[in-house]
């Protein structure tokens, strides 16, 4: 069965109230084609798990401006005034999560773990209401895995099995998000034949990737 589908068909699977893991860091390595199509399709009441809310006109910021996001787990909002306005107006629910913790909670979901123990946030508001656990003489916060429906990631190239390679710092959260989606859709700039990617270079094995879509500028 071919994993290659159109961006329209990919986005048609996403329904209101879906929980989305979206790759990228300040829009670098964000699946812009998929994001644009969600904006076009106006799929509402979405939950997103992202490192940052990007800019109003780049990355997941476009979903926020279109008011498609109902809630988010995110580590940084500083570049996007609109999401801060919506948060202050009570129109969007935000859980701020330290970036390293966010990544491990997503990774845990993809790896079949229930959560992680981290020292990050001890003695701050982040530990409020959470269970603290002593292990080897140190205190940790128990942080649960973050579950989700779709992982929307961006890679440089895919082969037709969905093996992914990334480019420079556009890798960022994408390999982590890719593991966590019940359905993972990878937007790529180039699709190559099976055998054309050096197995040593593959970062995300195709087992994690259900569908491949080609970026608008892709080949």
């Amino acid at each position: 069965m071919s994993k290659i589908i159109s961006i329209t068909d990919a986005v048609a699977m996403i329904k209101p109230h879906s929980r989305l893991f979206i790759g990228g860091f300040l829009a670098c390595g964000a699946p812009e084609g998929i994001i644009d199509e969600i904006v076009n399709a106006e799929i509402k009441d979405l939950h997103m798990v992202v490192i940052a809310s990007d800019w109003e006109n780049r990355g997941v910021g476009k979903l926020v401006v279109k008011r498609l996001i109902k809630s988010a787990q995110v580590s940084h909002l500083g570049t996007n005034k609109e999401i801060q306005n919506q948060m202050n107006a009570g129109e969007i629910q935000i859980e701020l999560v330290p970036q390293g913790t966010l990544m491990e909670r997503v990774r845990a979901a993809g790896a079949g773990l229930g959560g992680i123990l981290t020292p990050t946030g001890l003695g701050t508001v982040v530990e409020d209401g959470k269970q603290l656990i002593e292990q080897d003489g140190k205190t940790y916060i128990l942080e649960p895995a973050i579950q989700g429906d779709f992982a929307l990631v961006k890679a440089h190239k895919a082969d037709k099995l969905g093996n992914l390679v990334y480019r420079h710092t556009a890798r960022n959260s994408n390999p982590i998000m890719a593991m966590a989606g019940k359905i993972t859709i990878a937007e790529v700039e180039e699709i190559v034949e099976v055998g054309e990617l050096d197995p040593e270079q593959v970062v995300t094995p195709g087992v994690f990737v259900n569908y491949i879509v080609l970026s608008k500028e892709g080949k």
Partner: protein, 217 residues
Amino acid sequence: MALDKRALIGRRIALELKDGDYVNLGIGLPTEVANHIPEGIHVLFQSENGMLGVGPAPMAGEEDKDLINAGGGYVTALQGASYFDSATSFAVIRGGHLDITVLGALQVDQEGNLANWMIPGKLVPGMGGAMDLVTGAKKVIVAMEHCDKSGNSKILKKCTLPLTAKGRVSLIVTDMAVLEKSDAGLILKEIASGLSIEDVVKATEADLIIPDKVGSF
């Protein structure tokens, strides 16, 4: 902030770097440190979006959309650089593999607490990677102006803003002083040239331990 203040702080912090250190510089003032690395010292800069060996900004026209730092600015990769995913990046940070992190601050206190990620009701940009950096780096250096825009001390007995991490700051470098956190409290190690110890004490809300010898920078 005046350019000379930035340079003063950046140059002083750069003296803390040892050859071979792995270093993360926060956005803004901390990036000034990179301009003052002493001769013969080679360090690798880490960027939390997933890179070690961050180089300077590219020449105009040579920007690569896939190569940025944690502030979103275009960078280059030095020889020996590596790219990795965000979980690996925070394994470097939280796992104690990073020698030094340099961050800005809204407030620091004499117990080594740091507040730099939100002002309730005013500004909530989120903590990004700051909590992990301050929790995990071997040495946490704060780079900031000694006082805020209204002239109030940013070095307090106790932080009033939400903390980034508890008791993790080891060194504070401002435009007025270098302060070291010890179990006994904040030690005034050095004062900026042209200032007196009195000047620093007056501009500081926190209690300072003043040794017999205070250097200058």
